[in-house]
Every structure is written in C-alpha cells, then in structure tokens.
C-alpha cells in the first residue's frame, strides 16, 4: 500500500497526496481525469519515480524502491500506459528480457522461452508469433505483449495503466478473464481505465483521484457511474447529446477499391460533408492502414482516393493536407507529437505556413493560436513553452486534436481519437466531432470502443482481416451486429 505520496515535476505538482491500498485477490480500480496523477502514482509504485514524500509498504514492511528492478523484486508488475517494447528483439524476448529461461552454462534457452510466451498468448487467446520481431506491431499488439510480460512475471501485485485503451471488445473480454484468474490466484490487480463500464465489470473497489489527490476509496457495489464521475470531476456532468446527425452534404471523400498487399484489400467507401463515418473492427483488422493510405503516409498498391472529385496523389500527406484532409493518428507519442517540442510548437506544427508572414513564423500568432485551442479543449499544462512530453496521456491526445482542428480541415480522419481520454473530455471530444460535422466537415473515425462508435457515428463500416465486412447506419446498428461482423460470425 502507498501512503500520502507526493510528486512534483518542476512547477507541476503531479501528485499531491496519492494513497492507495491493495489487498490480495482484489481488482482495484483507479480512476480520474486526465492529469489527475494516476500514471504518476503508478510510476511511483513501479519504482520509476521516487516520491518526494510519503511511503510505500508491502506486507506491512516499509520499502523504498530504488528502481524498476527493485519493484519487480518486491513482486510488482506494471503495464505502463504507453507500451515500451524493444523493436529489434523478438516478441518472446521482449517478454523475458533480463530473465530468460536458462539452459546449462547460463545460456539462454530459446525454445523454452518461446514455449512460455506461446503459452501465455494461449491464455490471452491472441495469435501472436513469439518469434516475430516487435518492430511493426500495431499499438494493440504491443499492448498485448506488455500484458503478456506482466503476466509472465507472476507478480503478487499487477498494475495496469489503461491496458484496454487500444484494445477492442474481444481482446478486452480475454483480458478480463485473465484478470479474474490472476485474482483467484491471489494476486492484487490495480486497474486504470477511463471506460467506467469496464471498471464495474471486473473491479471490487475503486479509488478516485482528482488533481493529484485521492478523493474517494470504497467498494464499487452501491456506486453508480454517476457517483464516480461526480467524484472525478468534482461536479455534476451534464450529459451532452452527441448531436443529431447533421444533414449530410456533397460527397467529400471517395475511396475506390483500395488495396495494399497483405494489409487490406478492395476497400471502397465514401464520406460526405457533415457526416461521421466510423471504421469499426477488431484490432489488427487494418483500419489504421486504410487511414494511413488515404492520408498518404503508406503507399497503396491498387485503387484510388479522390477528394471532392479530384484524385489525391498516393503517398503524399502534404498534398492531402493541402486538399483539406486532417489526420489524428493512433500513436500520439510516435506519430502525433514531437515530444521534445513545446505544447505551443506542437499545436502550430501543421499550420506553420498560415502563421508565417513574409516567410517568417510570427511568434505572437503562434502563441495565441495555441492558447486559444488549449482553452477550447481544456488542455491541462504548466506553460505553453513546456515540452509536450510533460503532459499527461490524455492531455497529449488533446494537443494532437488541437493541431489538426487549428487547420480547419474539410475532412478529418481520427484514429482512436479518445484513446486514453477521460470521460468528461471524451464527451467534449464527441461533442466537438458532432459540431465539426454540423459545420460541414466530413469525419472518418476509427474506434475500437463500441459504445463510442454507436454514440457518434452516422454510418459504421466494419472491417475484418483487411476487408470491409459490413456497413450499418447508426439507426440499425447494435453492438452485437458489429461484433459478429468484425469477428466473422455473420450469418451469411
């Protein structure tokens, strides 16, 4: 258990008074808005950060964790919010690095290592090749590997910082089975998520944090989602209507028989002005690849992409942007943000030319732009000139959104736009998307979270193994339909 831990980063007081108690055999939920201090608390438990104050006890013994290794030795396993794999090592080695099973003479026993990895993936019900190198794994696959690693540690305390953020329903269910078995095996699980339904699904007790403080800890039964949200936000959250489907206008985007060898095949769909079209499907179904191809990041082998009737050159994001396309990618740390750059520079990154006069960037204009969007999206930051890496996961995601909204795109592609975004903000984002649609922007969304899909989409396209499996309008879509289409149990 952790008591009264405090942690500050420079000016930012990330954690004021975070306390949490975990008991064997329980799944304990930790919730809070973006920037509430959850990950910071996690990193303290993991020995990554040393608390400025407060103490940590394991089995009643006070311990000081000098580093991740120490935490691991103390029986804590952590799944970090942002997967951190070794791209050049095999999946199996990623899981067992530093503790590979040994054969005679302290040599590494590769076979045993792969067998163990395979076994764990078996338990998780995923088909991931332990011998494949990690480079090129999708976020989801990366998350799976992280989970596998944590399980393989057979730790007594397992901390999961938003493990489901990148996963879709099927994988989530698997994960929950695993959590349950872990619990019955007597381990304690600390589970962080912004999806409250998940919390209620597997957790017994909950701790709510607000602005770096523990504001509530009690058993879940008897609590409602509303109670939690109130505790998190500190006020009642007016349930915003996602907004009625705007009158869809002219066809903006027209994707014809798009194909990329081995990733996706024969994808055709359109997005009209003022319409929100969602690509649903299991993780790894190739949705991001389609989006990347449309935006010009990846090349495609066949097919065509036209915007307002004029074809987009393949493999040229610059051209797509010029034509008015915006793209919020799924991996904010690698693709969405330049981590070393300041919040303000990141917001301005896609609008530099608009912000410059006579070829020179106008600093003032840049600042106002950033400040303006920071307010509109309620971004939590220290100074606009701080590196964006200082922001919490959710706030980072908002910065990415701001970067693209600042361009006033005619077509906005958003890949997992609310990944790791807290419930209040998520509502805002949904509202924002709806508003954009109403203003005539066409939106292509990728989401692995069915409630979200059903909530905001006008039309839903389901992908399976790189192909379009089904299409629904919001009216006649249900979670069941989508899941079955995505997994292939579609009757005919």
């Amino acid at each position: 258990m952790l008591r009264h831990a405090a942690k500050a980063f420079g000016a930012v007081q990330a954690l004021v008074d975070g306390s949490i108690e975990l008991y064997p055999g329980e799944a304990h939920a930790l919730v809070g808005e973006n920037g509430a201090g959850k990950s910071t608390l996690v990193k303290i438990l993991a020995g990554v950060y040393q608390p400025d104050a407060g103490n940590l006890e394991v089995d009643g013994q006070e311990v000081t964790l000098h580093g991740p290794a120490a935490a691991r030795a103390a029986g804590l396993a952590v799944i970090y919010q942002e997967p951190a794999l070794f791209p050049d090592l095999s999946v199996a080695e990623n899981m067992f690095i530093g503790r590979q099973p040994l054969a005679s003479g302290r040599r590494i026993d590769r076979r045993a290592m792969r067998a163990e990895a395979a076994a764990i993936f078996g338990r998780l019900g995923v088909q991931l090749d332990p011998a494949r190198i990690a480079r090129g794994l999708s976020i989801a696959d990366q998350q799976v590997v992280e989970i596998g690693k944590a399980i393989s540690l057979e730790a007594r305390v397992i901390v999961m910082d938003e493990p489901t953020a990148a996963l879709s329903a099927a994988e989530v269910d698997r994960l929950f089975d695993v959590v349950r078995t872990l619990r019955t095996a007597g381990a304690a699980v600390l589970f962080i998520s912004h999806r409250l339904e998940e919390i209620f699904a597997i957790c017994q007790r909950v701790t709510v944090m607000r602005d770096g403080r523990q504001v509530l800890t009690q058993p879940l039964d008897g609590l409602t989602a509303g109670d939690l949200v109130r505790a998190m936000v500190g006020r009642d959250l007016a349930e915003r209507p996602a907004g009625a489907p705007g009158a869809a206008g002219e066809t903006l985007l027209n994707v014809e028989r798009l194909t990329r060898e081995g990733v996706f095949t024969d994808i055709s769909f359109t997005v009209r002005a003022g319409e929100i079209v969602t690509l649903a499907g299991l993780v790894g179904s190739g949705r991001s690849e389609v989006a990347r191809a449309v935006f010009g990041i990846d090349r495609y082998d066949a097919g065509s992409v036209t915007l307002r009737g004029n074809a987009l050159r393949r493999g040229s994001p610059t051209e797509a942007m010029a034509a008015g396309v915006g793209f919020v990618p799924e991996d904010r740390r690698q693709q969405g943000l330049v981590m070393d750059m300041s919040v303000q520079q990141n917001v301005a990154l896609a609008s530099m030319h608009r912000l410059s006069h006579a070829g020179l960037i106008r600093a003032a204009a840049e600042r106002t732009l950033a400040a303006d969007w920071a307010i509109r999206l309620k971004i939590k930051y220290g100074r606009l000139t701080d590196p964006v890496s200082m922001l919490s996961g959710g706030n980072q995601q908002k910065v990415v959104l701001a970067k693209w909204l600042a361009r006033k795109p005619t077509l906005l592609i958003v890949d997992e736009p609310t990944r790791g975004i807290d419930i209040a903000t998520k509502a805002e984002v949904h509202h924002l998307l709806a508003q954009l649609a109403r203003d005539g922007v066409g939106i292509l969304m990728i989401s692995s979270e069915l409630p979200e899909v059903l909530r905001v989409s006008d039309r839903i396209l389901v992908m399976r193994e790189g192909r379009l499996a089904a299409e629904y309008s919001r009216a006649d879509a249900s979670e069941e339909d989508i899941m079955s289409a995505a997994t292939g149990q579609l009757g005919g």
Binding site: A11, G67, T318, Q334
Partner: protein
C-alpha cells in the same frame, strides 16, 4: 501515521524554487549558449594575458584566415545534424572542388565557367548523399563515410600527382588581403561566414523550413504525419551542404593558391567538433546558430591562443578534445541546475538516478 504526516508535510526547498523562479524569468541564463559565451570571453582574456599579440588586428586576421573554411562548413553541418543526420563528406567535397578548380583552370577555362561547374558539382555531390539517405534509406553516417572516400578519390583522379598554383593574383589576394575598412582585421572568408551565419540563422530559427528541420530531427515520424516533406528537406540540406562546401573549397584554394589532391583532408571531424561545441545535439532536434558561431569563436580562439603561447603544439588535440567534453558537460550542467529541484529530495536514491536514467539518455550515438 505520524511519520507519514511529517513526510507529507515536507515543503519544497526554498533554494530550488528560487532557482525555478530565476529560470522562469531568465531562461536564456540556463541555455548552453550563455555558458559558451562565458567560455569565449575567458578564452579572450587568457589569450590576451598570454600574448599581447592576441587581440591585434593582424592576429585576428590570421585567426579568421586559418578558420574561415571550417567555420563556413559548420553552418550547413549544423542544419543537417539538427535534422537528425550527419555529413562527413564535407572535407572531401571541399577537396574535390579545389581540384576541380585547379583541373579546369589548368585547361584554360574562364573563372566564371569554372565557378558554375563547381557549384553544380557541389550540388550533385550533396544530392547523391541526400538521395542515398532519404530514398535508399541508408544511415547518413555510413553514406557520408562512403562519399568521404569517393569524393576524395575523384579529387585524386582529377589532379593525380599535379599541383596547380598559377591562379590569378586578383583571386588569390582574397586570401591574403583584408576587407577594406576593417582595420585589416577581417578576412573575406570571415565576412562571408558572418553573412551566411545570419542567413542560416534566420532560416533555421524563424521560418517554417527551420521549424520543420527541428521537428524531423526530434521525431521523423511525427514530422511526416504533420505533412512535413522530410525526405525533400533533408535532400535539400545535403545539397546546400555540398554547395557551401565546394564554395569553401574555392576559398581554400585561393587562400593557399594551391590546388592539390589532399586539400582539406581530415577537416570533417573538426567541423563536427565545432558544431557540437556549439551546443547542437548529436541526436538532432536541438541547437542554435548563435551557439555554433560561439563554438567557432571558442574553437578558433583556443587554437590561436595556443599558437601564440609557447604551448606544445602537439597537445592542441588534447585541448580541442577538452573543449568538446566541456561543451557536453556544460550543456548538462545547465540542465542539471534546472533539474536540481527534482533531484534535491531524491539524493538518497543515488543508486538509481544517474546510472540508469542518464545512461538511457546518453546511450545513443
């Protein structure tokens, strides 16, 4: 739970918070450039103390003369390193241009025509680097080590054993005479460096292209997703480098009024060293032109001061290396200071902090 309360009650130390305040008010004081400026001043003082000759216009002239080309080549190198690449072929590009100049002049070409050819060849040399890096996807370190040899080889082919030195005085004087009205202190190469420095500075720090260069250096993928033409800009940077270096080759040739195959051999590491002393991060994404200008001053100043004192010339390498180390540590000292606040309460975790974390940061080429 008394101890807990006590612990929780520990207020942040006043010292660090004061430091924070200062940092907030005067961030520049924490930049490496500030420290470097200080070093330059110190070098100036020591130099003058060591030899009355140091600050004479005559000596400044010599100083500018012997460092002009290196300084000029450092500018494109700065942009390239910030963009996350490196160009080791600068010296052999200089040599190749020098030999081309001699080769064509010996065949009676008019100077203007020669300049045009040299410019084109320089651009082509840079383009080759750029294309191999951006299109084939080879690491620039490897590519430019290769072209370092290749271009030096071309120089050899051009002149072989010959030395060309009958260049018209009108040109060679540029190397010997000072810019009029500067009290004989400023060489033409110094002047050119100053002008280029301003241009490069503006481009890097005030234009979208410059911002893009920082972005692609810090995170190529994010830059791509922001619609920045990473490959194109990088290729252009290498071409600019080729152009500037071949221009430096012309200056070099006229200064020594000699075109010979081994001109400029081995300068590449000096150029890189200067850029690094100037506070450019070798990982890309960080640095400034003013820093590099200061780096040039520090580097040239020290070398020259050593020459004037009867210091054993053989050890100049030791001093240059020392300066280089000082630059990296100095840069960190600045950030140590700013991180002081985070470190103070954590002194007890000596074991973790430095070793692990810092190696993580340090362990990239």
């Amino acid at each position: 739970m008394a101890p807990d309360v006590d612990l929780a009650a520990v207020p942040p130390g006043p010292g660090p918070s004061g430091l924070e305040a200062l940092r907030a008010r005067a961030p520049w004081a924490f930049r490496w450039e500030a420290g470097l400026a200080l070093i330059v001043v110190i070098i100036g003082i020591i130099g003058t103390a060591a030899s009355p000759e140091f600050l004479t216009s005559n000596n400044l002239f010599n100083l500018g003369l012997s460092n002009g080309e290196i300084a000029i080549m450092a500018l494109p190198m700065t942009l390239i390193i910030i963009s996350g690449e490196i160009d080791l072929s600068v010296s052999s590009t200089l040599g190749m241009a020098s030999c081309l100049l001699g080769f064509l002049w010996a065949r009676g070409w008019p100077m203007i025509a020669i300049f045009v050819v040299i410019a084109l060849v320089g651009l082509a040399a840079g383009a080759l680097n750029g294309l191999l890096v951006t299109r084939v996807g080879l690491p620039s370190l490897a590519v430019t080590i290769g072209t370092l040899t290749l271009y030096a080889g071309v120089a050899e082919i051009l002149l072989g054993p010959n030395t060309v030195s009958n260049f018209p005085a009108a040109y060679t004087n540029l190397g010997v005479n000072a810019v009029p009205g500067t009290g004989g202190a400023i060489t033409y190469s110094t002047l050119i460096f100053a002008v280029l420095a301003v241009i490069f500075g503006v481009v890097l720090h005030a234009t979208p292209v410059g911002r893009s260069i920082f972005a692609m250096g810090a995170s190529p993928e994010a830059a791509l997703y922001a619609g920045i033409r990473v490959k194109r800009i990088k290729t252009l940077l290498f071409m600019v480098s080729g152009l500037v270096c071949s221009f430096a080759g012309v200056l070099y040739t006229f200064r020594l009024s000699t075109a010979v195959a081994n001109n400029g051999v081995g300068l590449e590491l000096d150029v890189v060293a200067i850029v690094l002393v100037g506070g450019i991060s070798i990982f890309g994404g960080q640095g400034s032109i003013p820093g590099v200008v200061l780096g040039v001053l520090a580097f040239a100043g020290i070398q020259n001061a050593l020459l004037l004192t009867n210091f054993n010339q053989e050890a100049s390498g030791v001093v240059a290396g020392g300066l280089l180390l000082l630059s990296v540590f100095g840069r960190n000292a600045a950030s140590y200071a700013s991180r002081l606040r985070a470190r103070v309460p954590a002194l007890r975790r000596r074991t973790e902090g430095p070793a692990a974390g810092q190696a993580a940061a340090g362990s990239q080429p």
